[in-house]
Symmetry: C2
Subunit: 211 residues, 2 copies
């Protein structure tokens, strides 16, 4: 196998696809599949063979001609490319219904993701432990995130407070954010990445295709 070359011009879409490939590979690993043909893998991953090869070729070649892909090797390689082969702590702001559900979400730990800190403004919540995490006062967010050296944040608070909280998080050192509030965050920094998990917008775009 060639050494994977990190190309920093890889598009966000391609990276997102790599993460989804990894998801599929982990499912295969779970049912003890060791080797898979490129035809089968693209069927399972619901991607065209050409797209799959193109995405992987960006980082070096991983398959063996006539043999296919070793599930274990390919998943480890994608983990390494994505940088998810080590633990990444996450800071969650807003422990309402959605935030609370995310705190206990079993889908994270499997992928070396762990919510290590949670913040809320509600005095009744502060100090409580939810899914093993002690809820802290949102007022202490900046110092706490800095101290814990957390780089990834999740925002689950009402729309009107999102911008201010996001700015505080960036000042504390957060470099990537998942925003669950249906509002755009304006952070004019090239080194900060924001991804909107806008469920209503996602539904709306689906409606366009079925209507």
């Amino acid at each position: 196998m060639k050494n994977a070359v990190q190309n920093k011009y890889c598009s966000p879409e391609a990276i997102k696809r790599l993460a989804l490939y990894l998801r599929g590979l982990k499912t295969l690993r779970g049912v003890n599949v060791k080797i898979i043909s490129s035809e089968d893998i693209t069927k399972i991953l619901d991607v065209s063979a050409c797209q799959f090869r193109k995405d992987l070729s960006f980082f070096g070649g991983f398959g063996k001609r006539g043999v296919g892909y070793e599930v274990d090797v390919l998943s480890r390689e994608i983990e390494r490319i994505l940088g998810v082969n080590k633990n990444w702590p996450i800071a969650l702001v807003g422990v309402g219904k959605l935030g609370g559900a995310l705190l206990g979400f079993p889908g994270f730990s499997k992928f070396n993701l762990r919510i290590l800190a949670a913040y809320d403004s509600d005095k009744k919540k502060i100090g409580k432990i939810v899914a093993g995490v002690k809820i802290e006062d949102v007022k202490k967010l900046k110092e706490s995130i800095k101290e814990k050296k957390i780089k990834i944040g999740m925002i689950c608070i009402p729309v009107e407070r999102v911008q201010k909280v996001a700015e505080d998080m960036v000042r504390a050192g957060i470099k990537a954010m998942l925003n669950f509030a249906p509002v755009n965050i304006n952070i004019n920094r090239k080194d900060v990445y924001i991804s909107n998990m806008d469920m209503a917008a996602e539904l709306e775009s689906l409606i366009y295709f079925i209507k």
Copy 2:
């Protein structure tokens, strides 16, 4: 204003952007902004002016040269293009922590989206009312969705049951699905649209950019 021409070859990405534009326009409407320049609007929406114009031009022209955009008119037009100017009922399968949070999620109703039916396999949950919705037995999902003529579904159940439930939903008439489980759904039908809200994959792709 030209009549909006529906072009069915518009890409899913462009449609998703339209939904996000609508989000920003609704925020502006909420703070009583009536008219906005194309410069300001693209700054707020965090999109390049060229991209914004291109997306809109696909459906006809909406701005007035030298005046800008009427917030009200443009949001109504985008709502019409997306098809979200009428109510769309939603069926939710799985009323665990995440499903329960989605049931009460305030972000949906603002956008004419309403969870009208919810299903679970847990006998302790069946019959209970959560956020105004009575939880039904997942065994009756097919008949119930058919009867209610629901076209949109949300899946919040453990990975191993997702494929079977998704197939049942499609048989009952579901045409669009938001899947919150970290697994790919295989439905080989051109008239069914599936969108994965894979939070772990989203985080993983962010990690690539900050690592």
